[in-house]
């Protein structure tokens, strides 16, 4: 009789174990199925190719977007015998209908950090729809380093102009210094002229002759000085005008870069596991002091 009991119990345990294993397996399968559906393993896809001179910025698995939506991914990157890079792209067939044969694949960066994405320019609507194993044109978007380089190349002439103006102001042979010197000379000469004019009263015709000789030279010097001032002013105005066009975009881009930085930092702060490492910003109650001095009056 006890033997039958133990056998019954053993059978019960066996059934329960089987039921548990079955349930766990079903849950695991459901999870795998969900992930597989999310990863588009069951949807129909169209394979297209593009060629790039190098694989810089291209990674297997990176997103492929059409009008900002993820429509596929880079499946494979291989090297061709001519040292070019062949990229195999897999696109959901639903979206492949929207892409023409004249479509272009472009490598672009969506943010300051992180991988880029391949953006598909769908081409003209008149072009025939892309088919399996078609090849599209590839072009590389400008990355951050290139943008920075371009920015630097735009700033360089401005800085050069400003440097020239500064050195011109400081240089003894520069226009401004020369103008000041000429003006000094002119004023000194005018003092001389005044002296001579005073002598004029005394010396009469002799002084008048001297004045007649000196005046044309003085006028010529004054003319040259004015001309120099005019040239310098024009140079400064040109430099300022050139800078004025380029400085506002620089300021705006700088501000955008800072804002991007803030956004990225916020996102990083909220992401796992960084969020677990930061102190929590939570209100907390102060603990009451559980002691009262009973000996106090």
């Amino acid at each position: 009789m006890p033997r039958i009991d133990s056998e019954l119990q053993f059978a019960k345990v066996k059934i329960q174990s089987l039921r548990f294993i079955l349930t766990a397996t079903l849950i695991l399968l459901a999870l795998i199925l969900t992930v597989a559906i999310k990863q588009d393993y069951f949807s129909q896809t169209t394979t297209i190719y593009f060629f790039s001179p190098n694989a810089r910025g291209l990674n297997s698995g990176m997103s492929v977007k059409l009008s900002g939506l993820r429509v596929g991914n880079v499946a494979e990157i291989t090297m061709e015998p001519n040292a070019t890079v062949k990229v195999r792209v897999v696109i959901k067939s639903d979206y492949a209908r929207l892409i023409g044969r004249d479509a272009k694949a472009k490598l672009v960066k969506e943010s300051l950090v992180g991988d880029g994405v391949v953006e598909i320019d769908p081409g003209s609507s008149q072009a025939r729809q892309i088919a399996q194993n078609d090849v599209v044109v590839f072009e590389r978007g400008r990355d951050i380093a290139e943008l920075a380089e371009e920015l630097a190349s735009q700033i360089q002439p401005i800085l050069k102009d400003i440097k020239q103006i500064t050195s011109s102001v400081n240089s003894p042979e520069g226009d401004i210094q020369q103008t000041i010197r000429n003006l000094n000379k002119t004023s000194a000469s005018l003092v001389e002229v005044g002296e001579q004019a005073r002598m004029l009263g005394r010396n009469g015709n002799a002084v008048l002759k001297t004045l007649n000789q000196a005046a044309p030279g003085l006028l010529h010097k004054a003319d040259a000085s004015l001309e120099n001032i005019q040239i310098t002013t024009t140079d400064i105005r040109k430099a300022v005008a050139a800078s004025a066009e380029q400085i506002p975009p620089l300021v705006v881009e700088g501000r955008m870069a800072v804002r991007d930085g803030h956004d990225i930092l916020d996102a990083v702060k909220q992401s796992w596991p960084v969020r677990n490492m930061l102190p929590k910003l939570d209100e907390r109650p102060l603990l009451p002091d559980g002691y009262v001095d009973r000996q106090q009056p």
Partner: protein, 269 residues
């Protein structure tokens, strides 16, 4: 075949990642975040002894939490306002802040906050020598003090003080020992209180030799926590213990030290 193998690995990896990243942090409104920032600044001011500043901070945080009906935040800031008012000697305000939590509240507050409010009210009643009310509020606090309750040690310490008040040293020792267990790990200030109460229980039994090393330990603990008022109190208790043991000179010296601490506290801005 190999691609199937890679895909299954990808799936397994995705499942693991899903599990790791499944916890999404709770989204809080900017006002709630601002309230938390104000409350934490007030906490820092309280730790520095700038009680008026702390009160202003907690009041602003409370108003912000009230504006977005953040119930937990409201409860926490009411408790903190009661605590600051208590330290400032504004007992009427303490009662009214606790009243907002305990007397016909507009919201349903969590038991842990109710337990703390009831403990604070028990302490107020004890200070006013209304021992029946102390007992009443302690019972309520005990009922709301569920698992991971932060005021469990405080409740036991107040019970021990009640026992001392009734000259019941045995009960006082029992409660203070329980309080020591509850506060040992996370609440050093309350642990020091429990030690002081147990020393007082020993002194009530005239066991001054037992009380002395306990009080020395409490003094060292309060010094490490930087609590001048408690240091003064410990020195006075040590003086009493020495006095009971017949060490009048040591007792005199300890009282002089306590007086010096008191003067320094009074001179502080």
């Amino acid at each position: 075949m190999s691609s199937l193998f890679v895909k299954s690995w990808q799936i397994c990896g995705s499942v693991l990642l899903l599990a790791a990243c499944s916890h999404v942090p709770e989204k809080r409104s900017p006002i709630e975040i601002q309230a938390a920032q104000m409350s934490l600044s007030a906490e820092a001011a309280f730790a520095r002894g700038q009680y008026s500043l702390a009160k202003e901070g907690y009041l602003s945080a409370y108003r912000a939490d009230m504006a977005v009906e953040n119930i937990d935040g409201m409860a926490i800031n009411l408790l903190n306002l009661a605590r600051v008012s208590d330290v400032m000697g504004e007992y009427v305000n303490t009662q009214s802040y606790l009243g907002a939590l305990l007397d016909k509240p507009l919201h349903v507050f969590k038991p842990e906050y109710l337990a703390q409010a009831e403990t604070q009210r028990a302490l107020l009643s004890f200070r006013n020598k209304d021992f029946a009310a102390t007992d009443f509020w302690l019972d309520h606090a005990q009922a709301n003090c569920l698992a991971s309750c932060r005021v469990a040690g405080v409740i036991l310490n107040v019970r021990a003080m009640l026992a001392l008040q009734e000259k019941n040293a045995a009960d006082a020792l029992r409660y203070s020992r329980e309080a020591l267990d509850k506060t040992k790990r996370d609440f050093p200030e309350e642990y020091a209180n429990a030690l002081r109460i147990s020393a007082e229980a020993h002194m009530l039994e005239h066991h001054f030799d037992v009380a002395l090393p306990i009080l020395e330990e409490v003094l060292a603990l309060d010094k490490s926590l930087g609590l001048p008022r408690k240091i003064q109190l410990d020195l006075l208790r040590l003086a009493q213990a020495w006095e009971g043991r017949g060490g009048h000179e040591q007792a005199e010296n300890l009282r002089a030290r306590a007086h010096q601490v008191e003067l320094s506290v009074q001179r502080q801005p």
